[in-house]
């Protein structure tokens, strides 16, 4: 801790020097409250990647990166406070890790000309870059998740889901409600019955929902949960002896801390993902050498390699790559939010690039364009093994139902554009 404080102080001193401004990446994190279990590893991963870049490469394009952390507690009012207090520091990109805060920041960031990256959360229709100029949600979004889960179930059932009953246990908020529309469309298309069961914030009380599942006996249960809700749901599912292999969570409901409390009963639980799992990548050697062993890891430093840590790392990596792209486009090392936005819009992630960064096969290859801010939406499935306490990828990254999702995105973003008088871009 002392060392960390010392580095912070040193960093502050260096930042105070007139030499060159830093590239500021605000981290609207939450290390407290009912969602802290998910917020901590993500924030740690996000901060550690920038520490690694500073230690190993001397920053991005020669300019050191600076992560300003601000505690939101997953609360929208504090999120606004955090946004206002950090935007003046030259913030390049916001990643609020909260769908509620995202909704608030979409118009604000657009007005302030700062891009926002909501990786796998937020407003799904932000994929449509024609309407949402400053919001990006590559590489995958909730509707990809919903469709990916159904595609996986289709595969398991030989391509036919008619007559099946699928329950959706969801966090009763903007976040949890996102997939419902897609699932409704898909249920019409594939002929399964959808039962939606809302769970109120923070999600510790789920007895009645699981009683209903026990009575209705759905063939599969999907879950859109976050924070303590996940642990409770998995425990409740174990209590009613619901077969875990038929229980699939979204990528925010599939981390170690979600399944650990249920112990052996959680064995076989599945979760969707848009990036790979584990810490068996060359990047982790560098991370160990420059960050962890040097005592510069964020937080307690005990999250390295967990699912959400990886996701934070991945988010930071995509942000850093976009910043590099922005430096390349603008021709200067010291970029602004507007340059960053252009960089994000021109971002291209290939297999080779991922390998070069030390994360081969970690995430999908995708290209961001002016029209498509959401990448290609490749979704994989992971499964928990309670004996070895590891997640493993059981279904490779596969495309989702672009036809259904595309139409819904078009509809929702058109409604937003009409409501807010937004002119379509990219013509």
């Amino acid at each position: 801790m002392n060392k960390k404080l010392a580095t912070l102080a040193l960093g502050a001193l260096m930042a105070a020097g007139p030499a060159m401004a830093d590239l500021v990446f605000p981290s609207l994190s939450y290390r407290t409250g009912p969602y802290a279990a998910g917020g901590i590893p993500f924030a740690d991963g996000y901060a550690d990647y920038f520490t690694l870049l500073n230690e190993r490469d001397g920053g991005i394009g020669g300019v050191p990166a600076k992560v300003i952390e601000c505690e939101t507690g997953y609360n929208t009012e504090k999120g606004v406070e955090c946004y206002e207090s950090t935007k003046g520091e030259g913030a390049l990109v916001y990643q609020p890790l909260s769908t509620g805060i995202t909704y608030q920041l979409i118009p604000k960031t657009t007005a302030d000309d700062i891009p926002m990256h909501t990786m796998g959360y937020g407003r799904t229709s932000a994929k449509n870059g024609k309407v949402f100029s400053h919001t990006f949600n590559y590489p995958a979004n909730y509707w990809d998740g919903a469709s990916g889960a159904i595609n996986y179930l289709l595969e398991e059932n030989g391509g036919d889901l008619s007559g099946k009953k699928i329950a959706l246990v969801y966090h009763n908020s903007a976040y949890g409600k996102e997939p419902i529309r897609t699932l409704e469309e898909l249920s019409k298309k594939h002929g399964f019955e959808l039962v939606a069961l809302p769970v109120d914030h923070p999600g510790q009380e789920q007895k009645s929902q699981w009683l209903q599942i026990r009575r209705d006996r759905p063939d599969y249960v999907l879950m859109w949960g976050w924070g303590v809700m996940n642990q409770v749901a998995i425990q409740e599912a174990a209590n009613i002896r619901f077969p875990m292999e038929n229980f699939i969570g979204i990528w925010w409901s599939g981390a170690e801390h979600d399944v650990m409390p249920a112990g052996a009963a959680a064995d076989g639980y599945k979760a969707l993902t848009f990036h790979n799992v584990g810490s068996d990548y060359p990047l982790y050697d560098d991370l160990k050498k420059y960050v962890v062993d040097a005592g510069k890891a964020a937080g307690a430093g005990d999250q390295v390699g967990t699912v959400l840590y990886n996701r934070g790392l991945y988010a930071a990596m995509l942000a850093a790559e976009a910043a590099k792209k922005a430096q390349e486009i603008s021709g200067k090392a010291d970029i602004t939010g507007a340059d960053m936005r252009a960089g994000m819009e021109a971002l291209e992630i290939t297999e080779e690039k991922m390998a070069e960064l030390g994360l081969p096969n970690f995430g999908p290859a995708f290209t961001v364009t002016c029209e498509n801010h959401g990448g290609n939406g490749m979704v994989g499935v992971t499964q928990w093994d309670a004996d070895t306490k590891t997640w493993s990828l059981i279904s490779d990254f596969k495309p989702t139902d672009g036809e259904v999702i595309g139409a819904l995105i078009e509809e929702d973003s058109a409604a937003y554009a009409a409501e807010n008088n937004i002119e379509l871009r990219c013509n």
Partner: protein, 358 residues
């Protein structure tokens, strides 16, 4: 020395009955108004507006509203969050249905709608009192949140159930949405707060306020001396809900811009406003301001000191915040059960006699 009646002669009943009978107090009030209206709008920036002043102004309106019900009329309510949600959703529906109408009218109408809803949920107060009434209003809280989550008409059938404030203006000045200038949103809320405070102050020292206080102090005795409990209680619910509805509308349209009912108007909000009223002082308009300031500004100040000044890790500061705010609440309640308003009253008494001890 500065603060005394001596030499301040009043020659008419009007003078005698004014809100601030002491000269020093009156000038202080004018100075506060002048600073709030004449100086702050010129120096305000986005951070000050959105992080500190807007929440303070809006919560102060809500606290005044709740103070009328709890502090003046003695009817305990835990439904503030729900009533704020009514104001917010009413404002949203009006804003989207009538885009050309001024925001002033929308906010006032939203308050009016909330007043009607408040009277409906106030009906049980005619039969039940105290803790039982608190439970009945708690039911209102949960019912209203459930309703706005459940019925898609309220959120115009949006996919996520969120409501977003579209851009609206007042006399050509953008007042909602991201492009609204900080001074405009601040002034808009300040005008509502000033109006609400003046109305509340004058209601509470007139007949209406006296009937409320009579009901609060002993309802049977009040009934015997001719106070109509039905009218007194329901009017308290109506006025209180009106203010709370206005604050909910401002909270959604001006301050946050996008709201999710369960998160923004949950039971925590009801408790927060109730704490403001209790800490500030029951039955005091100034107390509503003081309570709102205490609970809105203190966490932000603690955060600024801890994170920005001392450079501590954010999670430790967030935890310390809870400890310090909680500790201060307990301390205040032990040392001064009548709230910050009583501290202010005591200070004024002391000032009056100063420099003599008796």
């Amino acid at each position: 020395m500065f603060y005394r009646e001596a030499g301040d002669f009043k020659t008419s009943y009007r003078d005698d009955n004014q809100t601030f009978p002491i000269k020093f107090d009156r000038y202080r009030y004018y100075v506060v108004l002048a600073v709030a209206f004449g100086i702050i709008p010129f120096i305000i920036n986005d951070y000050w507006a959105n992080a500190l002043l807007l929440p303070f102004l809006i919560y102060a309106i809500a606290a005044i509203g709740l103070n009328i019900l709890v502090g003046y009329c003695g009817q305990v309510s835990l439904g503030t969050g729900g009533f704020m949600a009514v104001g917010a959703y009413a404002c949203y529906k009006l804003m989207t249905a009538f885009p050309d109408v001024s925001m002033f009218i929308h906010v006032i109408l939203a308050g009016g709608i909330t007043a009607i809803v408040g009277v409906l949920f106030g009906l049980p107060s005619l039969r039940i009192k105290g803790f039982y009434l608190a439970v009945a209003t708690l039911a209102a809280q949960f019912f209203l949140v459930w309703l706005f989550n459940r019925v898609p008409w309220f959120y115009n059938y949006s996919a996520s159930g969120q409501i977003n404030a579209p851009e609206r203006d007042v006399f050509g000045i953008i007042i909602t949405g991201p492009n609204a200038p900080a001074w405009a949103t601040y002034l808009f809320c300040l005008i509502f707060l000033t109006a609400c405070a003046i109305i509340a102050r004058n209601l509470t020292r007139g007949t209406t306020g006296r009937t409320w206080m009579a009901i609060r102090d002993m309802d049977i005795a009040a009934e015997i001396i001719g106070v109509n409990p039905l009218r007194a209680k329901l009017s308290a619910f109506a006025v209180s809900s009106f203010f709370v509805g206005v604050s909910g509308a401002l909270f959604f349209a001006i301050y946050l811009g996008a709201v999710e009912v369960g998160e923004a108007f949950g039971i925590q909000k009801s408790f927060l406003v109730l704490f403001m009223v209790i800490i500030g002082g029951l039955g005091s308009i100034f107390g509503s301001f003081a309570g709102a300031a205490f609970l809105v500004l203190l966490p932000v100040v603690l955060k600024l000191i801890g994170v920005d000044l001392l450079g501590w890790p954010t999670d430790i500061v967030a935890h310390l915040q809870l400890v310090i705010v909680g500790g201060l609440i307990i301390l205040f309640l032990i040392l001064e059960p009548h709230g910050l308003a009583q501290l202010w009253r005591v200070a004024k008494e002391k000032l009056r006699l100063w420099p003599f001890p008796h």
